[in-house]
């Protein structure tokens, strides 16, 4: 049986990589590797996971320098020979080992007014939204985000400007900006415009490149820029 040489981050912001040797298997995921280390080699290793099937968004880590969802990442696709380096997500405070503090990440969703704001009550009929309209298609393209933080961790602008809302929060804002039922769109555009919002994006597209769900936050952010520009020119921002 071949062996993987795995280096895993230990500690908080200050720490070091610890080396482990893990048996290599067919179709092994990076999460399988981390789980093996925690169950067999180092019970004190802290990491986070829940669903193991790419739905919950809790197991993202930096694998050989790239942010990935570890439960759906096969070792064969990312190992350099027999070497793996596993670190916590970048751009987020490290609590311990592979666990990051995601509070700021999700607080920014709230700052981007990521809550749906409806006008109907339970006494009203369902809203009927035609599935083929451009707005509804834009929502479809943006809606599958699982909140894993891979885009936020991959974004250079987040690293340069800590106030920047980031790709995930702006993608959420875009999905609501294009939701014809939402009643807070003007207010949301105000929240996401400016130096900490969509206008700070440099279109590096790392978020779109690395999103495990194939979402393109860059496209949504560009849409927000256009919508904000239109609103500003009409004096409605």
């Amino acid at each position: 049986m071949s062996v993987l040489r795995v280096r895993v981050w230990r500690g908080g912001a200050e720490g070091a990589f610890q080396a482990f040797e893990v048996p290599r298997h067919a179709s092994q995921t990076v999460l399988d590797v981390v789980t093996h280390i925690q169950r067999v080699l180092e019970p004190a290793l802290a990491y986070r996971f829940a669903c193991r099937v790419g739905m919950c968004g809790s197991c993202a880590m930096t694998v050989n320098g790239v942010a990935r969802w570890t439960c759906r990442t096969h070792v064969d696709k990312v190992a350099r020979g027999d070497a793996l380096e596993i670190a916590p997500l970048a751009n987020l405070p490290v609590i311990r080992d592979l666990v990051t503090d995601m509070r700021e990440f999700f607080d920014k969703w709230a700052r981007a007014k990521g809550q749906f704001s409806g006008t109907r009550t339970r006494a009203d009929d369902f809203a009927r939204v035609a599935p083929q309209t451009p707005a509804r298609r834009d929502v479809d393209a943006a809606i599958e985000c699982i909140g894993c933080g891979v885009c936020y961790s991959s974004c250079d602008v987040v690293a340069w400007n800590p106030d920047y809302l980031g790709p995930a929060a702006l993608n959420r804002a875009w999905s609501l900006e294009r939701d014809e039922r939402d009643a807070a769109r003007a207010e949301r555009l105000r929240a996401v415009a400016g130096d900490a919002g969509c206008h700070a994006c440099h279109t590096h597209m790392s978020c779109s490149e690395r999103c495990p769900k194939g979402i393109a936050p860059t496209a949504g952010i560009a849409g927000l820029k256009r919508a904000a520009a239109r609103a500003a020119l009409r004096g409605k921002l």
């Binding site: 340069w160 400007n161 415009a193 400016g194 206008h199 700070a200 004096g235």
Partner: protein
Amino acid sequence: MSARGEALLWSAQRASAAVLALCVAVHLATMMYAVHAGLGAAEILSRTRGNALWLGFYALFLLAVVVHAPIGLRAVLGEWLGWRGRSRDAALAAFALALAWLGARAILGVFL
């Protein structure tokens, strides 16, 4: 700066970039064409002086530069040096005025 101000700055930078794309291409192509057989300063000035069309073209070019460059520099100063707020905007307004002054001097010297 307000969200509206930021959005308007972004629009101005996009619009000026579109003008610059055209102006830079025309500027480079004209320079290459005009000097391909070798030209002296006196010959260039004899062609440019009093030419209202080129005066208008370079005035537009200068206007686009004066709008575009300070807005781009604004982001660089914010992200790389952490310089934000009114002092940054005041410094960039001074930078824009300096660009306008220097550019206008050059244009007037060549075309009038």
